[in-house]
């Protein structure tokens, strides 16, 4: 029987399968960060258990770390305790950790691929929903809760039920200025935040294949915003080239053996999908979110919706609630939305290509006087690379702040946050109420669109600034 890529990875990791479909799945790679792990380690200690495979586990502190001068340490007491607890736990259980002052430190979903820890055909988990990012490498990667973190630490396996197969095909060529961020926002707008519930999404089609490795990561990253458990893309030469000679990639004979396996990681002709949708790339435009759910998308040429046009009572109420929270009027043009802040970074758009894309727009330009803007590279290595290319200077000359790596204002657990009613054009992945700070208002956009908004002082069309 022809299988999907997801079926194949699933079958290859079955340790045990009960009659009712409950499976015990082997986990090849486990990423750990400071927020969702302390209670898991505590659980291990309480029941006298060890970490089964410290080698298959990699830890990094990212959510709480300051993005300003690190030499002063962390001033917030609770953040400090959490980061120190991770350090102590990694030491006690023999897990490799990239500490706050390690150049390799960064957002866990940037660090994993960068180190070659993320590999095709593996099962990768992390106590973080954006683990889906790693699916760009053709791995089955998904977020787990803290109890599961403990389970994986203790057993290197996870109890799972198989999800459904959902394929999203994107064909054609993207118009100038339109990026993979716009593609995924469009997809979420189309399927809704619950559209992928119970499914693993495979992205296919010639547009997807034409994307770079990092652009693919942006798409897989936001799969979770469409409600799916994981998103993946069949690995190809671009992936193999990216992984070659990374510190934790297979070496020598192992590399050849791995390549043999990786090359066959694709959906068979005629494999059955439970759900399938098609998008034409030419029809995708620069997108923004106007509301408080990632499915609240419109193109930059459109207007904010009017709840009066909604017949469904629930939907109408929820539109009103979102507009009210966002401080927007019905039918307002997207381009009339004035912003206070710009955030470029996160595991969605904090990699080198994202920074290049924004820098290209910002070169020789100044940001609007009332806008406060910052760039937070996804990792220390991304930061270093950007500095070698002189991107930091472009950002700083245009008026952006150039920060240390971490999650930062993506979720505002450290000192970087919006004040109530402040409005931000952000390259992150969530626009929930309070996500970037209590009362803060988030518009999700691509890095180029964030740069355009910074210059104009309002949400604006990146195509206007293309050279």
């Amino acid at each position: 029987m022809p299988n999907t890529l997801y079926d194949k990875i699933w079958n290859d990791h079955l340790v045990d399968l009960q009659d009712d479909g409950t499976a015990l799945l082997f986990v090849d790679r486990h990423l750990v960060h400071e927020v969702t792990s302390p209670q898991a380690f505590e659980g291990l200690r309480n029941s006298n258990r060890k970490v089964r495979h410290p080698n298959l586990t990699l830890a990094v502190a990212d959510h709480n770390v300051p993005t300003t001068d690190r030499s002063k340490g962390i001033s917030d007491k609770e953040s400090k305790i959490q980061v120190e607890t991770l350090e102590a736990n990694c030491k006690e259980f023999g897990i490799k950790l990239f500490g706050m002052n390690d150049k390799r430190q960064g957002i866990v979903h940037v660090t994993g691929p960068e180190q070659g820890f993320t590999q095709p055909g593996t099962v990768i988990v992390c106590g973080d929903s954006h683990t889906a990012t790693h699916g760009a490498f053709g791995s089955l990667a998904f977020g787990i809760g803290t109890s599961e973190v403990e389970h994986v630490l203790a057993t290197q396996t996870l109890v799972q039920k198989k999800a459904k197969n959902f394929r999203v095909n994107v064909n054609g060529k993207l118009p100038l200025g339109v990026t993979s961020k716009d593609v995924i926002l469009q997809i979420i707008g189309k399927i809704g935040t619950a559209g992928g519930t119970g499914c693993v999404i495979e992205y296919a089609g010639d547009l997807i294949r034409s994307l770079s490795v990092e652009q693919r990561m942006t798409i897989c990253n936001m799969t979770i915003e469409g409600g799916a458990r994981a998103g993946l893309i069949a690995p190809d030469e671009k992936i193999f080239k990216y992984l070659k000679d990374r510190p934790m990639s297979p070496k020598d004979k192992d590399w050849d053996k791995a390549m043999e396996y990786w090359k066959n990681l694709k959906t068979d002709e005629g494999a059955k999908f439970d759900k399938e949708i098609d998008l034409q790339a030419e029809e995708i435009l620069p997108m923004i979110t106007w509301g408080t759910s990632p499915q609240d998308v419109i193109t930059i040429d459109e207007k904010v919706p009017n709840p009066q046009n909604e017949k469904d009572e629930d939907r109408k109420n929820s539109l009103e609630r979102s507009l009210n929270y966002m401080g927007l009027k019905p039918n307002m043009a997207a381009k009339d939305i004035k912003i206070d802040k710009v955030f470029i970074g996160s595991c969605t758009n904090g990699r080198i290509e994202d920074l290049r894309e924004a820098a290209k727009i910002l070169k020789d330009k100044k940001i609007a006087a009332h806008v406060h803007a910052m760039v937070v590279p996804g990792s220390g290595l991304v930061k270093e690379q950007a500095e070698q290319e002189g991107l930091d200077k472009i950002f700083v000359n245009s008026g952006f702040e150039w920060r240390e790596p971490g999650c930062s204002m993506c979720l505002a657990m450290n000192a970087d946050k919006l004040k109530p009613q402040e409005r931000c054009a952000s390259t992150s992945n969530r626009n929930f109420e309070g996500r970037q700070g209590r009362g803060g208002r988030t518009h999700l956009v691509s890095p180029g669109m964030a740069a355009a908004a910074a210059i104009s002082g309002n949400l604006d069309d990146v195509r206007k600034y293309q050279n």
């Binding site: 009712d20 959510h63 599961e148 619950a194």
Partner: protein
Amino acid sequence: MQKFNTLKSIPVYLPIVNIDTDMIIPKQFLKTIKRTGLGKNLFFEMRYDDQGKEIGDFILNQNPFNNSKILIAGKNFGCGSSREHAPWALLDFGITCVISSSFADIFYSNCFKNGILPIVLEEEKIKELSEYANRKEEISVDLNENKIVYGNNEIKFDVDKFKKKCLLEGLDDIALSLKKSEKIENFEKDLKNQKPWIFND
């Protein structure tokens, strides 16, 4: 883990759709390294004003709903992050059963791991049950029999057999999986032969 058997309570009804994990427990409370103590910050932004005072209008601040053990909510409950702080906060508040017409995947499975029973019902049934919340009448949930009893009516609900067993017996997932140690070891042996690069050693 606390066993779940039967539960009787006046339910509390939150008619909001897409209640996400940031609404359930905002991130400023994720800095804890413990599982307990989060209940007082459940639904923080809706429950307290800028001065940190309780907002009387909010249903969970009102008697008897501040003692509810059953929460009825709009569809797509628990969407957003994978963080388990959301079920920990519900549990610490005293809620051990959540009823909605749909749940986000990760939240749904996190509930079972913490002794909370999530129940999926059709919208119509949700509306019917919410009347009991409005009238402050008790309903009861019987996991053994897969049913909710309210007034003279009852509704059956579906729950995965294995998950049900774990809830009823308060079983710890890890101990259950470790019973399969031999299978895990065999899998690892094969893996070392077939994909030597996985182990990195």
